[in-house]
Amino acid sequence: MTLNTGIFDAAILNAVMPNTMIPATVALGSADLLKEYLLPLLLTVPAVGALLVGLMPGRNTKPLWTIALLASVVEAVLCIFAFCQFDSGNPNSQWTYLKPWFTLPLAAGAGIPVKFHLGVDGLSILMVALSGLLGPVILLSARGHIHEREKEFLIWAQVMQAGMLGVFLALDLVLFYVFWEVSLIPLYFLIGIWGGPRRIYATVKFFLYTLGGSLLMLVALLYLAYTQRTVDVQTLSTRELALQPQLLAFGAFALAFAIKVPMFPFHTWLPDAHVEAPTSGSIVLAGVLLKMGTYGFLRLGVGMFPEAAVTCAPWLAGLAAAGVVYGSFLAFAQNDIKKLVACSSVAHMGTVMVGIFALNGAGIRGGLLQMVNHGLSTGLLFLLVGVVYERRHVREISEFGGIARTVPMFTMVLLVATFSSIGLPGLNGFPGELLCLKGAFDFHTAIGAVAALGTVLGAVYMLSMARRVLYGPVTRRDNHGLTDLVGREWIAITLLIIPIVWIGVQPARFLEPTEKSVDLLVTRLERAKKSVAAAQAQDGARVATLEVPR
């Protein structure tokens, strides 16, 4: 085992002795106790919610909704509490929770310990807050369109919440993988039971596509486990692996994540899934599930295989930039509003990927912020599409037009969502996109330039959608009698608009928690860049000497 001395020692110390900060003799205050068990609590609250809903009789559905909503509000409060209490000065995982789970047999009396290891740091804290916030939003939006098999819906929505948070909190590869796959099943049912006419096709496509990617990741995971004799993410992040195995393992992980993000050309499952999913399913899919891919890239792909990431970065960033342009054109060609938003997701996630694989401070920070931004703005857009769909049961842009006059409040909110999505200064999209592009230009001018096209194209398709839906003459008689937003919808919308404006006005507050962890990652990446450059120079020299034999 070769440990590099320096930056990661603190991480190891923190992982091995999570509670050294609190002497046992000191009586724990309730706040300390809460912090110590905060992360497992984040997973238990939705699980208990699901269990309670499951145990209640299903005849009268009203109490079921109350229980589920209550659980999701508690969850949201806990997630935001975590965000507020997060120590921005600490680059390592905080509030770690560690419990042995089982041992993978290796030799007589020895084995690879698999641990129930949770923790949150600058890379995950924003996603934890976002997942928590979206919980009530999803349930509130669902109240409008889930009218059958409500009990099952509430159970799966809660299980989904637990699975997604588990992915962001897990610090053990096996645990990460388990949560990664666990989060597949609820969405399969969410789309498959409550989706549109082609829901079964869409949900099976989604499931198999993602499963195929993740099973290859499983093989890479096992390979790592046996060569490195550990599955702890923090320990693996400090190992210096040779480039060749890094590239192989990185490739397998990257495929799984690229399908999830989804990166062009692995994006074909996404429009189908979004179009068929119910509104709540779309919000969860766009809001959190896709971010599992980008988060995985950062935490595992870049974190464990920095040299491989540096080697592949031009390709991945280039592919992502191509995805930005391609997704934009796809979105421009859509007539179905929901499909348009789905395709815009491909473009926006492309921007995130460009930022991450710029592999510099600005890009990664921008990527992290943009992950949240996309969750908020696309979540809001899907929510609004759901609002009109519940009233008209159509989604074609041509079915609307001029509804600004009949539903002014809806119009206002849709404009906010549109502006947030295209990155208007003052709203959340601007700082995120700016940082991503700054990072991209620092990395490579051409990639930055192509990715920057996305902002222009985004404005084109989003604004033209807004114009065609909202303005002009009212062409359909049905649109005259549309009801504007109602109370339940207002609550969900407000929950999303507050952070949209807040991030836009004060992005520093949201970038600050990520600062130190990103710095740590960038330091490691700088070293990786040097070693890769040195290796390439050596290779070049070797080739040169081979070419000129004397």
């Binding site: 007589a108 388990v178 099973l215 499983l218 093989v219």
Partner: protein, 491 residues
């Protein structure tokens, strides 16, 4: 024979005696409850005997000339497999209660009697130290199975399935015997411990081992020897199918684990290729089926493939420094796999058996086709979700026990450096997920055209429901806490 010798034989002796007693009891009284009671009691006694001196240490030197030591001895690993088979037989017994239609002599005592012989056979195979015991054990469990498959004698499918199973089974037994005779000619003994590595020593030895392997691969239904499986599974009464999927697989794995040390290390790629071929045949075959029991039969073929992949890993490492570790890892992975897959199979076929139950005088076929299950969740939510849970476990999706089972086998494969084969295996298991999802989709997602269809589906009897719930509990506990079993293996 001393008392301790008798104790050692108790796990196989008690059910065998019980089997005979059931037949006598049936002759004395027409009350079927008595035979069921005898069956349950003898299975429980056999299970209890595993904890009472029946288990011998694997390290104990084998004393020559003593039957209970030279031919037979349940070490810990064999005792685990025997115990699993006893529990599976108990589950099948519970499921068969009231399953057969009245006009087919509902629940004949003969069925109990034959059913008891199967765990006895598994125990004999698992504890075999000698090829003769191995062969006897396999026959002891195969012959009752041939009869059990044919039990519903008025059905063409049952007779056809049983005939295929019997003919091919007899053929396989021939291979096994011929292989054994060659090994005897070469090694002048049939003791398994003295025949170690014989496959690598001479051509005759290699051919002998290969023939034995063919016979056993037939039993585990590995490709290309799997063609009997769908017919036999479909033709048999569903509780019997559950038993074939669980206990028979245990016997085949136990036998293969005994015979593996005879194989040369160079057999690893052959085994791996057979494993991947089996997974392909099973998964692709299942994808094409419209009848649920056939589909699950093909799925059981693909599970056999995964198990054989583990054996390939064991052989691949057998000449290296990690040989002992890996054979321990493969043993624990296979045992875990059998426990989870067996419980899932008992559960899944149990749910189907509950649905198939008919009232007196009704001889219609139902819940045969995939489309018969459409929309079941509307009327039978518990049964539908239970079946979904078992299917997800078979598909290896966490947090079910099935995930860890797959995980452990692939872990051993990767560790033995068979990474290419492991990748082929996981890609084929994506195909596997596709057909499990087809059934899940029919159960949960599909709209239901006519809900009244389910109204006359028999009410779930307590014993069957309890069995399915117990199986679900096993799969769930092993899913959340695999250490429950793994820690036991590590002792």
């Amino acid at each position: 024979m001393t008392t301790s010798d008798w104790m050692r034989l108790a796990p196989i002796g008690i059910p065998a005696v019980g089997s005979v007693l059931v037949i006598f009891a049936d002759a004395l009284t027409s009350k079927r409850t008595l035979s069921v009671l005898l069956g349950v009691l003898s299975l429980a006694a056999a299970f209890a005997s595993l904890f009472q001196g029946a288990v011998v240490s694997a390290a104990e030197p084998i004393a020559a000339g003593r039957f209970a030591a030279e031919l037979f001895g349940l070490d810990f690993s064999a005792a685990f497999l025997t115990g699993a088979a006893i529990l599976f037989a108990l589950g099948a017994l519970a499921l068969s209660r009231g399953y057969l239609a009245p006009e087919e002599d509902e629940f004949p005592s003969e069925m109990v009697s034959l059913l008891l012989l199967i765990p006895a056979g598994v125990g004999m195979v698992a504890g075999a130290r000698h090829f003769l015991m191995l062969f006897l054990g396999i026959e002891l469990l195969s012959i009752p199975l041939y009869i059990l498959v044919a039990m519903r004698r008025r059905r063409e499918a049952a007779v056809e399935g049983a005939l295929k199973y019997f003919l091919l089974g007899a053929f396989a037994a021939g291979f096994l015997l011929y292989g054994m005779s060659l090994l005897f000619a070469e090694g002048h003994t049939l003791r398994l411990d003295q025949l170690r590595g014989i496959g690598g020593q001479s051509t005759v030895g290699l051919v002998g081992v290969a023939l034995v392997l063919v016979g056993l691969l037939f039993k585990i239904s590995a490709a290309p020897f799997h063609f009997w499986t769908p017919d036999a599974y479909e033709g048999a009464a569903t509780p019997v199918t559950a038993l074939m999927a669980s206990a028979t697989k245990v016997a085949a794995v136990a036998a293969l684990l005994r015979v593996l040390p005879l194989l040369p290390a160079s057999s690893a790629p052959v085994l791996a290729a057979l494993a991947v071929l089996t997974m392909a045949a099973g998964n692709l075959g299942a994808l094409l089926q419209d009848r649920v029991k056939r589909m699950l039969a093909y799925s059981s073929v693909s599970h056999a493939g995964t198990l054989v992949l583990g054996f390939a890993a064991e052989r691949a490492a057998s000449s290296g420094p990690a040989a002992a570790d890996l054979s321990q890892a493969v043993w624990s992975a296979s045992s875990f796999y059998l426990a989870v897959y067996g419980a899932s199979a008992i559960g899944a076929f149990g749910v189907i058996a509950m649905l198939e139950r008919r009232t007196a005088g009704d001889s219609s076929e139902r819940f045969q086709l995939l489309s018969d299950f459409r929309g079941l969740v509307r009327r039978r939510p518990l049964l539908a979700w239970l079946l979904v849970f078992f299917l997800l476990s078979m598909g290896g999706i966490p947090p079910t026990g099935g995930f860890w089972a797959k995980y452990l086998v692939f872990a051993a494969t990767v560790r033995a450096d068979l990474i290419g084969w492991a990748i082929a295996g996981v890609l084929l298991s994506v195909v596997g997920a596709a057909y499990y999802l087809r059934l899940v989709g029919a159960l949960i997602l599909a709209p239901v055209e006519d809900e009244r269809r389910f109204d006359d589906a028999g009410t779930a009897p307590f014993a069957s429901l309890a069995t399915a719930l117990a199986a679900a509990a096993v799969v769930m506990v092993l899913g959340f806490a695999p250490s429950r079993l793994l820690d036991v293996f590590a002792l």
